[in-house]
Symmetry: D3
């Protein structure tokens, strides 16, 4: 159940992944990112925000979070990555800035639809329980609407990826696209380990549980590991 290329993407094609926070790009589509990058496709990652503050199980320091993010992206072979909004107060509510989020994904000067002009846009799927994931999904979906040729880039492919704890969802979505990531599990595991302040020894944020999810997705297509996506748009 493995093709030479994913969805017909070719070397030199460009892909944009949007992550609400550092680590979402790895936990959900990390193996797919690594597989695309390994075949010469340029993957760019726009991370929306990190905040400074107290977390359950530790503290969040933006500088540390950005280092982890860079290290993880390097492990996956990402071409370029950026964290757009640094929330030094820890009090921002991203989910109340819907318009700004659309603008960010459309026009961030370094990593955005305008800057990258990607064939594929990969965003959080609709069913995530986290308010930031929902807001980024909505904004990414809006940003991906079809524009007349020449006016603004429109990605031909739009996919939704799983979040860390998205088995906890009230929305049953069609996870119909599967990417064999058996060969990329080591790279994904390395990227996960880069997030030493985020991952836990057990529970939903543990490498063990991410591995179980990818192994079960692999069972869908009879491979060792896979990642599943919701295929919101595929235009050929």
């Amino acid at each position: 159940m493995r093709a030479d290329d994913v969805l017909g993407l070719r070397p030199c094609d460009r892909v944009l992944v949007v992550a609400p926070h550092p680590d979402d790009e790895t936990i959900g589509p990390g193996g797919t990112v690594a597989r695309l990058a390994a075949t010469g496709i340029e993957v760019h990652v726009l991370c929306v925000t990190v905040r400074r503050g107290r977390m359950y199980g530790g503290a969040s320091d933006p500088a540390v979070r950005e280092q982890e993010f860079a290290k993880a992206c390097a492990a996956l072979g990402v071409r370029n990555q950026v964290v757009a909004w640094i929330d030094e107060t820890g009090l921002e509510d991203v989910s109340a800035r819907q318009r700004d989020l659309v603008d960010l994904i459309e026009r961030h000067e370094e990593v955005s639809l305008a800057a990258v002009d990607p064939v594929a846009l990969i965003i959080p799927a609709a069913g995530g329980y986290h308010q930031d994931h929902q807001a980024v999904y909505r904004a990414g979906f809006a940003a991906a609407r079809v524009h007349p040729a020449g006016l603004k880039p429109t990605p031909r492919i739009v996919l939704g990826y799983r979040g860390v704890e998205d088995r906890w969802s009230a929305v049953a979505e069609p996870w119909w696209l599967h990417v064999d990531t058996s060969d990329q599990w080591p790279a994904k595991e390395e990227a996960l380990r880069a997030y030493s302040t985020q991952m836990r020894a057990s529970g939903p944020r543990s490498i063990d549980q991410v591995e179980r999810i990818d192994a079960a997705a692999g069972a869908s297509i009879d491979t060792r590991y896979a990642e599943s996506f919701v295929p919101y748009r595929l235009a050929y």
Copy 2:
């Protein structure tokens, strides 16, 4: 995330599981059956049919299939089990006998709603791709409708379980009920091994892939293994 008892079921309560073919009662809810049985709950299994004939990867002999079924049920601690319809020609299409299926589940003399009067009825979930699973789901659902007290038994609880390859489904169902089966995996594995003519070394019908599914379900509730169900009715 583990309770003393499942859904408030108590020792001496009775549960009826309906399986389209031998092995469905194990692959889907086998660990839950074993856990219920271990706490003194009577579990009865009504298997609808086995057929004689050529299969991909072998042949199906009803006598052998019934032996496997008995052995698996013993491993799980089932109180009583029966195969209702032996199809010696191998040509029956169960999915065209909807009314007979409803009658079977309502009134089979040995294992049925009338014979067992169960608190809980456990049937295949709606989304299975196999025509027999769909037919048994529909018939079980119809049989479980509410009757006036005293006229006919009505199970207070109705659950849908996963089939062997039900990651291949066009219906996204709410798998909202999870049973921790960590301690029952050995019993489930033994029951799976009893099906030597049905299980395969690899692919969807392998023990490895059933284990992956149960491990991923466990990740939903932070346990080693779990089985997930669609909770069609819970009346208290």
Copy 3:
């Protein structure tokens, strides 16, 4: 169709109900609260907000609303209740404070997941038309995500209840869990009467219409009255 205990809950177990405004805890799950309380289960109610201001059909005075709330909770047998946010200006838009709502439900010092450590969390269901109900649903759902054992309390059971006018909903939800509240109707009616500034003589906010809804739910399970819930998580 009545069990000795609801979902296996036992005396001394704790339950947390979250209500957007005073009266939601009564109109939706009031009979269930009364039944749980009557069997020795501790029920705690977190009411998010009351606002001062003009209402259709009257005025809202926070002090009066809190008195009504206390009186209704007493009628239902609630152990402890609190109103978290008093909006003296009447201008707050709760639905724009998603992050704060999650924090509130997780960590309010007196009544919250952290303070109560409940087995079951009962929140508004997803399909309510009111923006505050939707916001509290989303926040409650997010707060109920699974945490590693020991880090933060995770309720094993999460249920969604009906709002006052939730027959007006564009979302068709699976109301699959039913609780027989025939014996608790008098307590629920008394609690409804406590809300003299909120209930009306006719229309959706009348006792007559709440009674009709509970009588129709009772018809689902052949009892005099019942309350129906969406069973988002049931872990055993």
Copy 4:
């Protein structure tokens, strides 16, 4: 919340109701039928089948069932009604005769789309648990497809009604059309009483429970009673 006419239907317009068995036309849309008939609209009822045989709680004699059907239709003001298939053996499975059902609804010589040429077709809704209801729904839906003008009648309006126990459904449908039947409850009750072999003193088939459902539907639109429908097609 009451209009002069239902959906713009006018005196002399014709309506076709399809009932799997005698009593379905009354339990579901009986009040609406009575209201339409009272304003001069011709309502025709095609009942698919009665069978001879043992029933839970009694026996079914086709002649008696047809008498009951005629009496109920008279109480509702139906212009013309017919039972199409008499199953003297009691062994027919209607759900296995999908093509014949479509032909029946399209072309029965006395009461059908061809014979009546109705503006509105009223069929069981999709979510009924009973195999016959599901089959009649599917057949009615197929029969109602759009035909070129002049070739075959196409009803402009297609509605789905509730079955007797359709609170027991795994399909959450949008019951968005409500008809105020407050003034028609007496006629509906009289028609229900005509079914002396079918109705029960308690339980889902009791007048009490039908009344509770209609009272709850009334609560949706602030009337004493109402009937709710799924509006599959409304063409103007």
Copy 5:
């Protein structure tokens, strides 16, 4: 497939259309507005907002936008229209003002539920990708809840219309109500042309693509053109 009147609406009945921005009332339900107006029904349009600022493909000047809006409404035969919020800074995020939106639709002094007391309320459908459309849908839905007779107007009919690019939606809604607008296409085209700063020569905002959508909707009911709606409430 054409009736004399739409949904039974009669001359002198009043209808309220809510548009997030100028042109939404035309692109979605413009032909239906024209058909209703042509039969003597009063149609009132509440446009929520225009903003000053840079747009892709041009600039937005509130005064120009209001002129276009007035011209389009005149072409459709609208009785009265208003733009409620002028955003001179271009920085407002309507989607973060949920409560204000509900108040606006309920109580705007000139065009609102209170001011117009309409039989039918026509709002954007739920599935639009644009954050403002989603917010206006939610607010309109909340404003349309049922009130006791005499307290506040409740529209008997609530419909959802398509937005300009709503083929790009992750929500599959039931577009079950169709209005034959074959005779109104010229008026709709004239109204579209009035929006010279908004419409484009090609792409989703071109007259050509709006025409294709209406022609495909017409194919649903075998007419030249039609507009399709989601029928959220129909009470008779």
Copy 6:
């Protein structure tokens, strides 16, 4: 919005299309078939049945129907096509032969999964109202389940296509995959014309209405024409 190749399919890849009756392969996915064939991909078409008999608007003669089918397939560039079941009596009900249908799609000796071993399987989508389309959808879906490598062919890609009148559906499916067929419209039109006994001058079975549907699908991705599919499985 056009890629060099569809979903990464390459010259010499094989595709299997299953059509309930002759013309379904053209009306739904005809342009896509033509585009695939034009790039060197082998397309095989399995048509399930033709029946002899009276039709609305004419008569059905199997020999004529097969000639039309062959002519249409030639226009689209199909490599090989077959009609499996000739129903000389006109009385067969395909929808009651679910098991036989699965066997047919798995093992027909000339055109089937076993005979063709395709990368992609293209079947009717789930939501068709016609009982034969539903039966072929279910059988095709079942036949496409994942098998262990080497035992039986498993198509990596499974797509659902539209039927002739599938705007008449009670199931809202996600039509998320779009294929630009602008250059293939002439071939599709030629193939449609080959069905002189099936196509009509007006109404749903007219070339005009098929063209409107494809033009509206094109509007989804800003092309002149397109065909939309439900992407049930995409494995890479």
